[in-house]
Amino acid sequence: MQALYAQLLVGLINGSFYALLSLGLAVIFGMLNIINFAHGALYMMGAFVAYFLLSLGGINYWWALLIAPIVVGVFGMILERTMLQWLTGLDHLYGLLLTFGIALIVQGVFQNYFGSSGLPYAIPDQLKGGMNLGFMFLPIYRGWVVVFSLVVCIATWFLIEKTRLGANLRAATENPTLVRAFGINVPRMITLTYGLGVGLAALAGVLSAPINQVRPLMGADLIIVVFAVVVIGGMGSIMGSILTGFALGVIEGLTKYFYPEASNTVVFVLMVLVLLVKPTGLTGRAA
């Protein structure tokens, strides 16, 4: 049973990353109509920023949680201003191709300087050790990742669904021209949205740094799984992305316990099943 709970926890952690990444993808897709293939590369950049902060500047994990999303967010906003904005009105596919190119560049540059092996990132002192919950041993850091991700996801949901800014955002997703006529600066909002989306990816990167090590290709395979998560959940609803992300992480964790050979593929197999039964995805509308 210990092993089962341990795999469930790993599943919840992976689910946190799926949720944070698919949430960002959904927010970006809503405003920019672009599937951000660079999301995995920017997640990796988040982890590397945390690594640089610690190893070069001696700046600790807690500051990295704040600084890395801002740095990567600003980097993303520069990408949006210099490149992505020129794709408005073109076929969606060009957005995918452009961001795929950006992902190749970013990952290639990091691979050149850091190879493919992992760099260690220590768990911060305050979160070291573990707790005995009676039925299992809970490493504190892992519990922290799950709880913190959940809080961030719900905060993002609140921001978009319940605040005035979020209302403007949702309105601009529906009809940008009309929202501009009301005097709201939609292009700036698009840039900020992209920054927010990739900032969430960078945050996930910092959270994963002490668990998965910091590697240039850490986001390359992850983003494909997240795509499958997005296909399963659909990008129509924020809460849908969050729930699908966590649920699939847990299912993956259970698979690792019951049938480890399929743990790499279970999310893709589920995607196939969902497509066969309900082609529009669990929460999505027809695309």
């Binding site: 490149m83 020129w86 795929f100 190119g101 499958a228 296909v231 893709f268 196939v272 497509l275 082609p279």
Partner: protein, 322 residues
């Protein structure tokens, strides 16, 4: 949503004549390669990728469907052919047949699944399916995992052509490429191809005219996947191995890049793009991961400034379809 190609020209007798002239010139140039001193292995490899890119282009350029998983057909056909040649010791022609059949079956299954969604979702689904297959091949015993199937015997085709001789192999690969190319050309210019183009331009209108667009897209997917498999089978004879690199998502990305560079929806673009990208990899092989960075930069530059691709730009300038 704007169409992928902004200048679709009608098929006229003049256009067909132009295309046939270019085709004959291309065939003659390629046939002369063994006498030119150019390293035939490089050209053979490029021909396989050119056929793969042409098959991919059938789907994106004429059906408007961006598959981000075409490596799965290349790799599956490669594994099937390699297994048939090495373990079952079949002659080359049957080995190719086994590979193509494998890709055919795979394209029916994956097409049935992926065609259910459109646009961007279709791309994500094909990518996810190819990643699923990658993990399956990583663990399946017959693929030998990370090592791949190596030392594949080339044999005698139809009992006559000795494929161990580079020149003979070259002409067999060339004939295979030209046959595949002509088949794709025929598909594009058939009534089926015309319906496909109409779906690319405006699917809703094609539906309203009574076309069952899903059937057309599915058939295009199967044709494209099977032809991509043919390229994978030919590649086995050139490389004499079948490995996981051929199923990896980066390979799918390379195919997309070749077609984008040459020109989406152009007839000769994928061939030019394949030669350009393979040549670049050859010359920059010593620069390690910078090749990835350069490939990424080409993606960015193409999408931002050069969406018609090399052949697309030339065709646009000459006001011809090429």
């Amino acid at each position: 949503m704007t169409a992928l190609t902004d200048d679709t020209l009608p098929v006229t007798p003049r256009a067909i004549r132009d295309e046939m002239i270019v085709f004959v010139v291309m065939a003659l140039l390629l046939a002369a390669v063994p006498f030119s001193g150019i390293y035939p292995f490089f050209v053979m490899q490029a021909l396989c990728f050119a056929l793969l890119a042409c098959a991919f282009n059938l789907l994106i350029g004429y059906g408007g469907l961006l598959s981000f998983g075409h490596a799965m057909f290349l790799g599956t056909a490669g594994y099937c052919s390699a297994h048939a040649l090495k373990v079952w010791a079949l002659p080359p022609e049957l080995g190719i047949l086994v590979g193509v059949a494998g890709a055919f079956v795979l394209s029916i299954i994956t097409g049935y699944i992926s065609i259910r969604r459109q646009g961007i979702y279709f791309s994500m689904i094909t990518l996810a399916l190819s990643q699923l297959l990658y993990f399956v091949y990583l663990q399946a015993p017959f693929t030998h995992g990370e090592d791949g199937i190596q030392g594949i015997p080339q044999g005698r085709m139809f009992g006559v052509f000795d494929l161990t001789k580079p020149t003979v192999l070259y002409y067999v690969v060339l004939v295979g490429f030209l046959a595949g190319f002509l088949l794709i050309y025929r598909i594009i210019n058939s009534p089926f191809g015309e319906v496909l183009k109409s779906i690319r331009e405006n699917e809703q209108r094609a539906i309203s005219l009574g076309y069952r667009t899903d059937h057309y897209k599915f058939l295009a997917f199967v044709l494209s996947g099977t032809l991509a498999g043919f390229a994978g089978s030919l590649k086995v004879f050139v490389a004499q191995n079948a490995s996981l690199t051929d199923v990896h998502w980066s390979m799918s990305g390379e195919v997309v890049l070749m077609t984008l560079v040459g020109g989406l929806g152009t007839i000769f673009g994928p061939v030019v793009g394949a030669f350009a990208i393979i040549a670049m990899q050859q010359y920059l092989a010593g620069f390690g991961q910078w090749v990835t960075v350069i490939q990424g930069s080409i993606f960015v530059i193409c999408v931002l400034t050069f969406r018609r691709g090399v052949i697309g730009e030339i065709a646009h300038y000459l006001r011809r379809s090429l």
